[in-house]
Amino acid sequence: MRTPRGEYFLQGNEACVEGAMSSGVRFFAGYPITPSTEIAEGLAQRLKGTNGVFLQMEDEIACISAIIGASWGGTKSMTATSGPGFSLMQEAIGYAAMSETPIVIVNVMRGGPSTGQPTRASQGDVMQTKYGSHGDYQVIAFAPASVQEMFDLTIESFNYAEKYRVPAFLLSDAEVGHMRGLLSVPEQLKIVDRKEKGLKRADEAYDVPDDLVHPFPTFGKGHKAMVTGMTHAEDSRIEPEDVKTHQELVKRLSEKILKNRKDINKWELVSPGSKTMIISYGSAALGPKEVAAKDERVGLLRLKSLWPLPEEPIYEVANQCERILVCEMNLGMMYWPIKRVALEAGCKKVELLSKIGGEPPTPSDVRHKLRGMGAI
């Protein structure tokens, strides 16, 4: 049951619940963990009385396994967790990538490593999202910075997971998950459903070529689907010893995402063309946004999607500015891939403002750093 059109005053995690309901989520499996628990609690309420299922499992591995199973039953499926639970989910994230199962994983990031800071925000899981499971694979990840984006980007996570048959991530954090703010829900929402084998619907998922994303053989429809995490050929035959089969499969899994980077990536630009550009995302971008709004010498590229890396907007910004400040709540994770693109674009001065401990960088933190760089 989707969220009716209107204005709401909600918590970030509650907006995520509404985004999921509006996307047509029909299966949620979760395990209690701070600071994501409100999402499970919200969906336990919201899925009741619909034809959806809420399930509390014995651990996070079971949660992600259950939602993958549910996805093969043909339903939009999701789980929500935080750092330690996210670590447990890594094995099945690789499975979902390999078996091309559309699922959505919400990670309300908290301070790590290990149990770390359960109630405090962090952006320490951005690399784990892309590199946490073994082997080569690509995923799609979004980074919301407001209550509104918790709603909007949850819907995008579902849409892109369905369109490209891939695990999609909403990389929120304790700050965005627990902030309260306005949510405006429009009458019309763009919802994408996976392309099903043997069907042709008016849905943009069907525009993706079949050789890049195979049609989805939903269970119980006579397709004799064979789903496996082992290296498999086009006809699902297990071929773990075959060099060519492995090369073709794993390269396609990466290419279907990387070739569609322009379709997937989303960002916000404030004062483009400024001599100093800040590149940031999620709640770390809130301080920089305030600085960029008030100081004309400073602009901001706020990444709304992190994976695949939005190389084009980073390149364009780096090509036009003198210096870049990457601002994030870890000791420098997205800094390195951003710096790589910036160097390619000819911008040699790329610095890092990193703040860990649970508080997002304030505008004065940002200004202090910019002064040190000679930018203001």
Binding site: E58, A62, C63, G69, G73, T75, A92, G220
Partner: protein
């Protein structure tokens, strides 16, 4: 249904060694399934990782070959999202009882409608014969070259205690009883668990003076005792070894409401 319509002929030859018990269990399953005249296209087969977990890939229906130990968790999601599908899980002792132990006991407790068949060969066969959680005490394996100092899990008793609706244990020597139990399990509403003690002559028998599969079947025959006629006190049931016994039979047959009924998901269709 003809046996060659039941299997995916194009996936043969299979990976099982000569003398493996998996073929016997597959045959018993096929017999039970076809005698009940169940629709194959409305049945999904789920497996984890290991020799027995490969069985779903040889059956001519939807197959979900998952990660190690998680088959029951995947099957739970699949079954609840598509309650008109019958879900059958094939698993082994390592997959179900070691890495998947938590999902196993919670699956029994949650009582989602599925049939779980565990082929227990007391060893990690696919990786070359390491001790598993059901390797009998003092037996040899590549990781217990001086004899297994641990004691084995009793998977069937575990399932009883955890709340499964139907629990039975047989060996590959008891094909008629096994077929009958699989039939009961397939018809049972709720979590039905059938454990089959099976031979792995390649990696278990060979290291334990039973390289010939028939020797292992003889061992099963001699050590098997019906659960109602066990020789030792109940507390010693877990001691599955040559000196002791293999407890066989139907352990429990009850009708706790299954999870689908409790949450009303069956109406979704």
């Amino acid at each position: 249904m003809e046996i060659f319509d039941f299997y995916r002929k194009d996936r043969w030859p299979h990976v099982f060694c000569p003398g493996c018990g998996n073929g016997t269990v597959m045959n018993c399953f096929y017999r039970a399934f076809s005698e009940l005249d169940l629709p194959l296209e409305r049945t999904a087969f789920v497996g984890g990782i290991g020799c027995s977990s490969r069985i779903p890939l040889y059956i001519s229906s939807d197959a979900l070959h998952t990660t190690h130990g998680r088959a029951i968790a995947f099957a739970t999601g699949l079954r609840l999202s598509k309650p008109d599908l019958k879900v059958v899980v094939f698993t082994g002792d390592g997959d179900l009882g070691a890495i998947g132990g938590n999902h196993f006991i919670n699956g029994c407790r949650r009582n989602v409608d599925m049939t779980v068949i565990c082929i227990n060969n007391n060893i990690y066969g696919m990786t070359g014969g390491q001790a598993s959680i059901t390797t009998p005490h003092d037996f040899l394996s590549t990781t217990t070259p001086f004899g297994n100092k641990e004691y084995p899990f009793d998977l069937a008793e575990l399932a009883v205690a955890a709340g499964a609706n139907y629990v039975a244990r047989w060996t590959t020597r008891h094909v008629h009883e096994l077929t009958k139990s699989i039939k009961t399990a397939l018809q049972k509403k709720g979590f039905a668990f059938v454990e089959v003690i099976s031979q792995c002559p390649t990696n278990f028998g060979r290291r334990n003076k039973m390289a010939d599969p028939t020797q292992m079947l003889e061992w099963f025959k001699e050590s098997s005792v019906r659960r109602d006629k066990v020789r030792t006190a109940a507390v010693d049931h877990f001691d599955l070894n040559m000196a002791g016994q293999i407890t066989i039979g139907e352990f429990v047959d009850r009708n706790r409401e299954c999870y689908e009924e409790l949450i009303g998901v069956e109406k979704h269709g």
